[in-house]
Symmetry: C2
Amino acid sequence: MPLIVEKYGGTSVGTTERIHAVADRVTRAHQAGEDLVVVVSAMAGETNRLLDLARAIDPKADAREIDVLVSTGEQVTIALLTMALHNRQIEARSYTGGQVRILTDNVHGKARILDIDADSVRADIAQRNVVVIAGFQGVDESGNITTLGRGGSDTTAVAMAAALQADECRIYTDVDGVYTADPAIVPEARRLDHITVEEMLELSSLGAKVLQTRSVEFAGKYKVPLRVVSSFEDGPGTLITHEVKDMEQPLIAGIAYNRNEAKLTIRGIPDQPGVASKIFGRISQAHLNVDMIIQNVAQDDTTDLTFTVNRSEYADARKILDSVAVDLGAREVAGDDQLAKISVVGVGMRSHAGIATTMFEAMATEGINIELISTSEIKISIGVADRYVELAVRALHKAFGLEVNTTEESLDSAIAVQAAQTDR
Amino acid sequence: MPLIVEKYGGTSVGTTERIHAVADRVTRAHQAGEDLVVVVSAMAGETNRLLDLARAIDPKADAREIDVLVSTGEQVTIALLTMALHNRQIEARSYTGGQVRILTDNVHGKARILDIDADSVRADIAQRNVVVIAGFQGVDESGNITTLGRGGSDTTAVAMAAALQADECRIYTDVDGVYTADPAIVPEARRLDHITVEEMLELSSLGAKVLQTRSVEFAGKYKVPLRVVSSFEDGPGTLITHEVKDMEQPLIAGIAYNRNEAKLTIRGIPDQPGVASKIFGRISQAHLNVDMIIQNVAQDDTTDLTFTVNRSEYADARKILDSVAVDLGAREVAGDDQLAKISVVGVGMRSHAGIATTMFEAMATEGINIELISTSEIKISIGVADRYVELAVRALHKAFGLEVNTTEESLDSAIAVQAAQTDR
């Protein structure tokens, strides 16, 4: 019998009615012959309610106690869903993260899974019991409750699927799959039938909030077949694949954006070894996360360095950079906290030089100034002023012809068309 | 340093403000040099909120899953109180029942504590950490979450005090001690400075809801010095003692009542061996709890039998009795579901025959008909019509002179006075 790990997020279990609906869906799958492990999040709003309580006690509450507190959210859901399954004559059993035992390190609030002892879960499955597991949580070696951080339920599901060698891990969510772009911005955006792990990773890390980055990494590492489906309507969703099938693979999977960016530039730095490490050493000591880094070609024995940080960390980063600039004898520091990052992602671009050209020309046509460029093997990201986001994403979606199911071949012509237009 | 186990109930931790107040109190005790283990209940209303969710899913939900659900209530409180202590620069650490490890049997919803492994708690105390423990919960041998039933947090506190050989177990509650009678009925009711375990047991089982019966049994068995104190005002409360100090010991500790009683009588039963077991066998098969049983002296080879049950079980018991009466060839079945039980409790009465007389005469003076009498070594209970409860309790409080601190000596004269009055 196929073993399926399903995961339902907070919205899907947000009310007792919705928990009943999830129980109906699980019951149908069980009756259709599937063995099921169901991972659930806290009911929507519950985690925030608990965090509000913590804030009323101490805004700087200890991470260990925060974990003790918020882990109750998922514990409530597993009990309720298991009751709903019993109510449908389905044998079911709930497990907290600690009961499974999902062993993590002891970094409270963003723990990493080290090992899963799935013996009891396997024994339950062998008896055709449905197993309901609290997502997002585990225990460290001393038995302290840990959490994996927001969205960690996806990681729990994928990790359970890997530990159990499940046939598929289905992430039920409030969207019906992964799209070529945010449908709120691009009405023509199209659901992808499949996408590679690498593409999904780039999209996740760029802020497409369908799946948590870590869960996709996990799926990639352990080759877990992962599918994103809607918990509100039936449909095939999007399958995250591990093998690239040549001709069917679209050149570009999609376009992602992230509005919460800021850029900082330090100009006229003496072009000497060790300069970059001095700058980023100070930045990382302050626990600030740097995203893109661009160093310009040196002129007159000095160089310019630009990097981006999350908008909320802009002020802190700026303060550090001002001080570092003095130490290094740099000329000046400049910055802009109204930056957005837009990325075109696709494994097919590895072998296609035309992608960047098409991207930059689409921006030029719309009169959008590109402030930053950064590329990886399967991604090209640009920084533009925040106010251009919608315009830029729509223009790129059109330029790459994503509204139709483009294969390499068809996209080659689309790029050719673009190139021809801009050649004029 | 004295080791104190404190327990705060749901009302005492009902809001974040009240949790702050508890943290203040714990901080003062800690700074005064006490080592502290604090057991807490769920915030008032939380357990009912969770049970309402369960009811919306399945009114006949599985007991194991109910325990998974409701145990989150205390888990929230331990996290919040520990945060509040950190906020006051007190080193503190929270433990769920499973983390301590409080081992119970697997009777979900009313599990019994089998063993406590308090090693980690001891290690924390040795470092002057305050330990905050979730009341009401434990784990069975397989790691399933269990609960001790409503009011079980008292039991957790007393069991922890026994396991740690604490110097005192203080139960903080919304009353400032144990009274000679319900102050709502008897304005002159007086707080007792101390009461024996046996008396407290009788009072608890009779419905004086200050302490859960099981926690008092535990305190008696393990000789835990137990004190009931108010969490809203300072005061000595009532100490539950294990030794009777002769002269200072009052003859009567207090007067308890329970309104939810019903009586059933089966008349004209053939007076043969095995009759009682036939009747009560059937009653207990139906899981009905019988309280008082009185068998009258046989007349004409037949006997009458009367017993009391909880009012909510009256109809079921009556149905069974009607059927048993036919089988036994008994004459008739009668019943009354508007009965109340009033009890006079005191270890001192062991050696005093006058107590019953004083009690019955006080009822006669008020024109209250006694429908049932049952006695134990330290208690005399009577059944009266429900509408007489207030009048009867007040009359007894006065008859035994409980408004003043009566010792054996002074009460002897009080009884003498009563006897003299009724002799007239």
